[in-house]
């Protein structure tokens, strides 16, 4: 997975949270907590995918 995809996902999630805030469905501070949580989760997920591919390449050197 390219890093570009992760940035795109983070942008979508952040914009989505801002849209939720603007529509009044969540309060301002809660919106930021939500956005930070989503960004951390996406970053962790990307890191795990990278680790997985590195381990696989070390297990099967070709």
């Amino acid at each position: 997975m390219a890093l570009r995809t992760v940035w795109l996902l983070i942008a979508i999630l952040t914009l989505g949270t801002i849209a939720l805030q603007a529509s009044g469905k969540i309060s301002g501070s809660l919106g930021w907590v939500l956005a930070v949580n989503l960004v951390i989760w996406t970053g962790l997920f990307y890191f795990l995918l990278r680790i997985q591919s590195k381990i696989s390449s070390l297990e099967n050197p070709s």
């Binding site: 949580n37 997920f45 995918l49 590195k54 050197p61």
Partner: protein, 234 residues
């Protein structure tokens, strides 16, 4: 298929976070937004328990069925990940206690029992580090983790119920009923599932990394962290 499942986990994680902050209502008799920590604190504590039990089962497998190194490494990976989750559960619990009870630490039965669980499994790590001979290390740490099959259920489920606790009633309480708002229950169950799957994914990666180290494969920690191998060498 594997990739699809990984993306499914990511999506489920996002839905859990959105559900916890937007969809689920606040619990009654909790101050402010503090009840939202439930969706992360409970799954962390639960997953650490699963990790410690899994470590015990792998240790029994190692001791009783063929002494396979892979089983010992699986137990080691489970304990170390379980410890990380247990620390996170303790920290989130202390944050919640500060909001609700006014202090980070109150020696509540649950706080005390989780401290004992942390000490018990930290001793497992210390035991492994202190034994230079691989065979002795595997045998003794295997026996210790197998002992955890009795200790962990006692510390997580029995000890906190022996004496009165200020801690909120668990999801499955003594009356055998689930006393929780339905949307909160759905988010909590989804979170429990996500954390459990995430643990087994992390465990799989960590166990394979330990196996590579064990095999003496050409693996450098620096490579795993993404920097060039040559840089780590003098």
């Amino acid at each position: 298929m594997k990739k699809l499942m990984s993306w499914g986990l990511w999506l489920l994680g996002c839905l859990v976070i959105i559900g916890a902050f937007v969809w689920a209502p606040l619990a009654q008799s909790f101050l402010g937004q503090s009840s939202r920590i439930l969706f992360f604190h409970v799954p962390m504590a639960w997953t650490s328990f699963v990790a410690f039990i899994a470590a015990g089962i792998w240790s029994v497998r190692y001791l009783a069925f063929g002494r396979r190194v892979a089983d010992d490494l699986a137990a080691q990976a489970a304990v170390e990940l379980g410890l990380v989750l247990c620390v996170l559960a303790t920290v989130t619990g202390a944050m919640w206690a500060k909001t609700m009870w006014g202090e980070f630490w109150n020696w509540d039965p649950r706080q005390t029992s989780i401290t004992f669980a942390l000490l018990f499994y930290a001793a497992y790590v210390a035991l492994r580090q202190s034994l230079p001979d691989a065979e002795t290390r595997r045998r003794l740490s295997g026996a210790y983790a197998a002992l955890g099959l009795a200790v962990a259920p006692f510390l997580f489920f029995v000890a906190p119920r022996i004496v009165y606790s200020l801690h909120p009633q668990p999801v499955l309480n003594s009356s055998g009923k689930v006393e929780m708002e339905s949307r909160m229950f759905v988010v909590l169950m989804a979170s429990l599932f996500t954390f459990t799957v995430l643990f087994f994914w992390l465990h799989n990666l960590y166990r394979r990394a330990l196996q590579l180290f064990e095999d003496g494969a050409n693996l450098d920690r620096a490579t795993l962290e993404g920097s060039p191998t040559e840089r780590a060498r003098p």
